[in-house]
Point group: C2
Chain length 507, copies 2
């Protein structure tokens, strides 16, 4: 046991050190250089700590003074802005229109759909006072906006001519989670939520799948993340949905991340909220509805799928900066001038930055790698003389000597290669960590020793699903579109089974 | 007095009528045709009702079931998206970076700056419960985010090297207003809020004015709204600011709309929130801060500056649809085909739509005018034969016959003219409704009989400012940058005055 005086001494020391760090430039510089030069935790050693280190040191996000809420810093938000721009334009090309619904939901409104309120009430944040008065009815900070869209549609839709409604909003939602981690689970997060209303069941189902496919394309082509698309089990589906479809991605540590969902509500919400329309034959019909969303969780997926021990690795298509120019011996005459000239030239085709700070090239390389900037262009006096530069890929550190005359062409090729290789690497990792098993012993042994997905048949009983969860902490990630209806025997009870399921531990 | 049975009969009638309207296609069609064909309230007859009619019939926004909160419908939100895109890129070209701060603010945090909390507490909405538990400390739904940015900066800024910080966020804020009107005053509204931190007083002041000028340019060049830029009086400045600058626009009814503000906080917030940095000489300094914002109020300004008795008139640069193609005799062979061909052709250069619904051309014209779409292109069988079309401007209804061969060029010219003419028209309206007065009698007579701005000198005493407000309900809109420091006598007390003020009734 440490004695009291020692305690006090330690306290004083820490206090003085902190003051030094905060208040002297020297302290700052020491603390900063240390921050960058010191390697982050290795991912194989402690994956969770590695994740936290990357989030912090790549300056993506930071904890705020509001418990469970984070600040998205410029670099992290820049990734979100690129995601939003690309995805929004993909949405719009399928006829989606953006709107803005209220932030708050009256309790009576959210209570109308029983399953839905049961699903979300435990995590709801409630506004009880407005101005100086207590509200007559408390208002829920939206955890999701089905109820508000239904309320709006019930008034706005009258005839089949008003259908379909294919609305979306980009906003933040609040869910009072107990454990939080930046991007993966926070009390507030950014997302988009699409909410549609259709005249027929078939149309609603088609839209549900269409939007899931928009997500699949976006993940594979833009984020370079391969996903398993499939249907959620009854246990795992969204509160109030008839069916929920999902895309599941495998992180570097073998765990699953539910990365986007698309729900078909049938006419359940329409019945609860009176969303009706007059059909062509003058009969009154309930609308069929869907909703679908992806969130800043995607940034968590990017980190955990592509990152390495040097930090973040960003897919070129969504990287806020695609090319970092790093001058070598920048104090030599003409170097900074040439670097600036290159920056201006390349800005026409790429998102480019020039690091002309007074730090060492080594420091700048480490910083560019930590931020996952897809390529760096090194240029020094000798390069300039030889009319060339060195292009270094972030993903595999491959170096290429490139003539300045053909830099644009080469950079475009290299960025395209990186994008493609990142997807292939992630796919290979996932495939080599996916195991087909047929017996429960095999299942348990695999889950205990081999991080990854397990493909195994299931008899569709809740009992088996619960037992697997309890015994192994693996959940049913989805019944994949591919092979999901194949026959076999249930991996848990051994009875005949008509569904194949992807199982895994999940974030 | 109406007898009870009559009441009941009326009640039944209304009920049946409503059912008819809601549930029969015929009723729908009747109600809808009526809605469009029926002229909106004339602006000279009842400006407030005209405003409400335009908001509703141009389908910009609608009331929601949450009191004081509105739904921004696709067309209204489309205007906001265009505003956001243009303004965001103007911000970024001055070095602004976007971030995302928490939605909620702990009470203890907001309480740290005395003036600020006094200004915002009366309108605050409070979250008191999260999940199933009562919170230990209640959280305010952000009415503005100075306190959160300060809290973040106090941890993130250490050295002069970390400065300046020029951050912005696009989000919604909540203020518990008693009286609400779509776009002008609602309990939740969308805006951007920029928050910066600088090493020196001069730099902070320069940024304050720089952002005000970004707003001025945006209003004049994009929204075609001329503004008076100037400084707010002590009474009218932002809670916690050293000085507040504003842009004031005149609405068609002569009233002022405060359309954007930019605040210099000096080091007041920095002292309250401990936002310090180590300067070059190793001394600890407080940062100097600013904030600046514009909101969906701008859409209210667009409506009230440019609208007319046929509805909305949108400036081409921010109109979601710039060109509406309306086929004439569309059932004749080749008409719809040609109209579609035109639409595809024009889409390369303009935001174009084709109204190929089965409504009459007259209905379509009225609808296009109601939505303020800058030009319509009418094309029928005879036009096609003559290889021409009719282009009709929304703003002055001028018709031009244009050869299809030169349609792009002519449309570009016409849209440019509209943009320019709208600004000039608004400027002429404002200038002809601005009155310079020197005596209090003149002031009172002018304010009572001539809607508009009054330019009059002021002795800088709060007494005179209060008296003017009480006697005339006009407030000091701003001390303009132009002529604001000219000398005269106070219009209220007659004493020597060194400030010229724009006075007016305001939204």
């Amino acid at each position: 046991m440490v004695s009291r005086p020692q305690d006090l001494r330690e306290f004083e020391f820490v206090k003085i050190w902190k003051l030094l760090i905060k208040h002297t430039e020297r302290g700052n510089k020491m603390a900063k250089d240390k921050k960058m030069v010191e390697a982050i935790t290795s991912m194989d050693e402690d994956f969770a700590q590695w994740y936290t280190d990357v989030v912090k040191k790549a300056e993506l996000a930071d904890y705020s003074s509001v418990k469970g809420f984070v600040v998205l810093k410029p670099y992290g938000f820049g990734i979100w802005e690129n995601i939003q721009k690309t995805l929004d334009s993909a949405f719009k090309s399928t006829g989606v229109e953006n709107v803005c619904m209220p932030l708050l939901i009256p309790e009576s409104l959210i209570n109308k759909e029983k399953d839905h309120v049961e699903g979300f009430a435990p995590e709801a944040a409630w506004v009880t006072h407005g101005g100086s008065e207590e509200l007559q009815e408390r208002l829920c900070v939206r955890p999701t906006s089905e109820t508000l869209f239904c309320d709006f549609y019930s008034k706005d839709i009258r005839s089949y001519r008003d259908l379909p409604k294919v609305y979306n909003q980009w906003c933040s939602v609040v869910r009072w989670e107990k454990e939080t981690r930046p991007f993966l689970r926070t009390r507030e997060f950014l997302w988009q939520e699409g909410h549609t209303a259709h005249a027929t069941e078939e149309e609603a189902q088609a839209r549900t799948i269409q939007m899931l496919n928009v997500y699949v394309d976006f993940f594979e082509n833009e984020l370079a993340i391969p996903v398993i698309k499939g249907q959620k089990t009854e246990k795992e589906k969204f509160a109030g949905a008839v069916s929920t479809y999902t895309i599941e991605a495998m992180m570097h540590d073998g765990k699953a991340l539910q990365s986007g969902t698309s729900h078909n509500f049938g006419d359940g919400f329409a019945r609860a909220y009176d969303v009706t329309f007059t059909d062509k034959d003058n009969s009154i019909q309930y609308a069929h509805q869907t909703s679908w969303g992806v969130s800043t969780r995607m940034i968590g997926a990017i980190i955990m799928v592509h990152g390495d021990d040097n930090g973040l690795v960003l897919p070129p298509r969504i990287a806020p900066t695609q090319v970092m120019i790093i001058p070598i011996m920048q104090n030599k005459e003409g170097v900074l001038e040439k670097a600036n000239e290159l920056k201006n030239r390349l800005s026409a085709d790429f998102r480019v930055k020039l690091d002309d700070s007074d730090k060492t090239p080594g420091f700048k390389f480490a910083d560019q790698e930590m931020r996952g900037i897809p390529v760096r262009v090194e240029i020094g006096p000798k390069d300039i003389e030889a009319n060339k530069c060195i292009v270094v890929r972030r993903d595999n550190r491959e170096k290429t000597e490139v003539s300045l005359d053909e830099l644009e062409t080469k950079l475009a090729e290299i960025l395209e290669s990186i994008q493609k290789d990142m997807l292939e690497r992630a796919r290979a990792h996932r495939d080599s960590h996916t195991y087909s098993v047929t017996t429960y012993d095999e299942f348990k042994e695999t889950i205990a020793n081999k991080p990854g997905f397990i493909k195994a048949h299931w008899c569709e009983s809740r009992e088996c699903e619960d037992k697997i969860k309890e015994d192994t902490s693996a959940s049913a990630r989805c019944i994949p579109f591919e092979d999901g209806n194949s026959e076999g025997v249930c991996v848990c009870c051994g009875k005949p089974a008509k569904k194949l399921v992807y199982w895994g531990k999940a974030y």
